[in-house]
């Protein structure tokens, strides 16, 4: 049944081939490298590529597989990418470059930065036997919804190269959609995994706040940021989530909750489940093609025996404003560390204040500056109560509404993004227009809940995503719902035009 080229198959499928020794990890790396050489530069997916290291790691994995170590290690030998927000170790103990990849967060201020330590995400995936191909392009410091805010140029969508792939994890999304890697990591502060997954026709999950360690994940907004997987099927994402999740004493926000076998929760069964459809998520301004596809997906779940109930989250409208106070406020504090003194770009001025001003003025791009300014203003004397405290109070309301509704239903169904992919340049002149892309995803971050986007069809030839939102630490349920839908939706072989050798 499978006519797809090797590079475009799911992680689960090629994992089976690996364990049956029908392909090698080296074959998989080479299949990705062929795509990367053909499309990588044009789509601008990578900020750093580690070919030699990837091939060496693949050979290690092949030896482990030959020795029979593949059982119970679904990621062993699987090539993947890290969003360039995760630091990879690039220095040895003597402080010298050790051949590891640089870590830039898509910013000029960290151009060429070599980290002295590895992120927890990289460490866990390495321990699981996955093979790192490289670091993917992203909006600068993960601030954006289109990947156009990268200091290293926009990423193009494999579905239509005149379009954005979404953001901020746009490079990971485009790489996974385009057969350049079998899975990727992203970070999601207001939708930065789910929205690019939606616009690029793949699956992306933001787990519960605290589910995955953020050690070595370059900070944007600390009460909202979370790491998560992007993949080509719900099962793939479930396997990667299990490898990433778990307590890490190096991240004080990481929660010591047991990590279930998420793939085992994929029963295909939703009969008897109650699924809520929040009416506020079908907003004015949503593209009709998106609404049609999402409503059809809800109908399919109903046909599978789920009980669909309309619910209300009345404060949804206030989510955008709440987010655009909290996130910039936290960003303005987090990004104070880029001072031209400890690491990163420095303007080299003799006067300290002048050095701060020139380093940060030249090192940050326009969107990062805008958010630092917005956050600084919202936290400044005279405005703190009106903006920041108010936003924290509305956050209480938004969270309470989710808690109330999720006490009555097992999960929520909504669109991931109000639109399909849009033209590069179409929204760059108007920050508010760009911010609206995240209207359906950012309330989930505000409440700290898990959410997943799964492809639910095409509109105008471009992918649409169905979002499933769940209770805190109940990733298993939303994976189960998304997987049950995916099994019957007939979209599993949906691939962009790049999916050929």
């Amino acid at each position: 049944m499978n006519e797809l080229p090797l590079a475009d198959r799911t992680l689960s499928e090629v994992g089976e081939l690996l364990r049956r020794r029908e392909v090698s990890s080296r074959d998989l790396v080479e299949a990705c490298l062929v795509r990367i050489r053909r499309d990588g530069e044009r789509l601008n997916t990578f900020l750093a590529l580690g070919e030699d290291r990837a091939l060496a790691a693949a050979d290690d994995a092949d030896r482990a597989l030959a020795a029979g170590d593949g059982d119970g290690r679904p990621l062993l030998g699987i090539p993947y990418v890290l969003k360039d927000v995760f630091v990879t170790r690039g220095l040895d103990d003597a402080g010298l470059p050790d051949g590891g990849l640089p870590s830039t967060a898509g910013s000029r201020i960290l151009e060429g930065y070599l980290s002295p330590y590895a992120s927890d995400a990289e460490a866990r995936l390495t321990a699981a036997g996955a093979v790192l191909l490289g670091k993917t392009n992203c909006d600068e410091f993960a601030m954006g919804s289109s990947n156009e805010n990268s200091a290293y140029g926009p990423v193009r969508n494999p579905w239509d190269e005149t379009m954005v792939p979404g953001g901020s994890s746009g490079g990971s999304a485009a790489a996974v959609a385009g057969g350049q890697a079998f899975f990727g990591t992203g970070t999601d502060t207001g939708g930065s995994i789910r929205q690019p997954a939606s616009l690029s026709g793949i699956v992306g999950m933001k787990p519960t706040y605290g589910r995955i360690s953020r050690y070595g994940m370059i900070a944007f907004a600390s009460s909202l940021d979370q790491c998560g997987p992007l993949g080509r099927s719900v099962r793939d994402v479930a396997l990667v989530l299990r490898a990433l999740a778990g307590h890490d004493p190096r991240d004080s926000t990481s929660v010591d909750e047991p990590v279930p076998d998420y793939a085992a929760a994929l029963s295909g069964e939703v009969r008897g489940m109650r699924l809520g459809v929040p009416r506020e998520y079908f907003v004015a301004g949503m593209e009709p093609g998106v609404e049609t596809a999402v409503r059809a997906a809800i109908g399919i779940l109903e046909g599978l025996g789920a009980e669909i109930v309309e619910v209300s989250l009345p404060s949804t409208d206030a989510g955008l404003a709440t987010y655009y106070i909290i996130a910039p406020a936290e960003a303005s504090a987090n990004l104070a560390r880029y001072d031209g003194v400890k690491y990163g770009y420095s303007a080299g001025e003799d006067d300290l204040l002048e050095n701060y001003l020139r380093t940060r003025g030249a090192g940050f791009g326009p969107e990062v500056k805008r958010r630092i300014m917005l956050g600084t203003y919202a936290l400044s004397a005279g405005y703190y109560d009106a903006y920041y405290v108010k936003a924290q109070q509305v956050r209480t309301l938004i969270k309470a509404e989710f808690d109330r509704v999720l006490a009555d239903v097992d999960a929520l169904l909504a669109p991931t993004s109000p639109s399909v992919a849009f033209k590069i340049g179409a929204k760059t002149e108007d920050p508010m227009l760009m911010y609206l892309n995240d209207a359906c995803t950012l309330p989930v971050n505000i409440a700290g809940l898990p959410g997943i986007s799964v492809p639910c069809g095409l509109s105008e030839g471009l992918p649409v995503g169905l979002q499933v939102i769940g209770r805190a630490f109940d990733e298993a349920t939303i994976l189960r719902v998304a997987d049950a839908y995916e099994r019957v939706a007939g979209l599993s072989d949906l691939r962009p035009p790049t999916a050929h050798d």
Binding site: A94, K369, M373, Y377
Partner: protein, 97 residues
């Protein structure tokens, strides 16, 4: 309504060196964003407290024990200006400043 002086003040607080053009553009954009954000004032929050973060964890502690960390060389490798084993910082306090 955010004034040009407000923008310049916030830029100083944020230690961001902005050009005149950037300040002009920023003023217009921040004005629009703040207008949109201003809708929050209409939300009744008289009976709710603020939420700073959503998980139950607070004051996570670990034993105060020495453990391996970065080597000195690895920690200093990215420093733009270094003097021996120190990070060199431009003079902050000077006679007559």
């Amino acid at each position: 309504m955010i004034s040009r002086a407000d923008v310049e003040h916030a830029a100083r607080l944020a230690r961001l060196g902005l050009t005149d053009d950037e300040i002009d553009r920023m003023q217009g954009q921040l004005r629009r964003i703040l207008e949109a954000i201003g809708q929050l004032q209409a939300v009744d929050t008289s009976s709710v407290g603020p939420t700073a973060q959503v998980i139950a964890l607070e004051n996570v502690m670990r034993p105060d024990e020495a453990r391996p960390g970065l080597t000195r060389e690895a920690a200093l490798a990215n420093v733009p200006l270094r003097e021996g084993d120190h990070v060199r910082v431009p003079v902050v306090l000077e006679e007559g400043r």
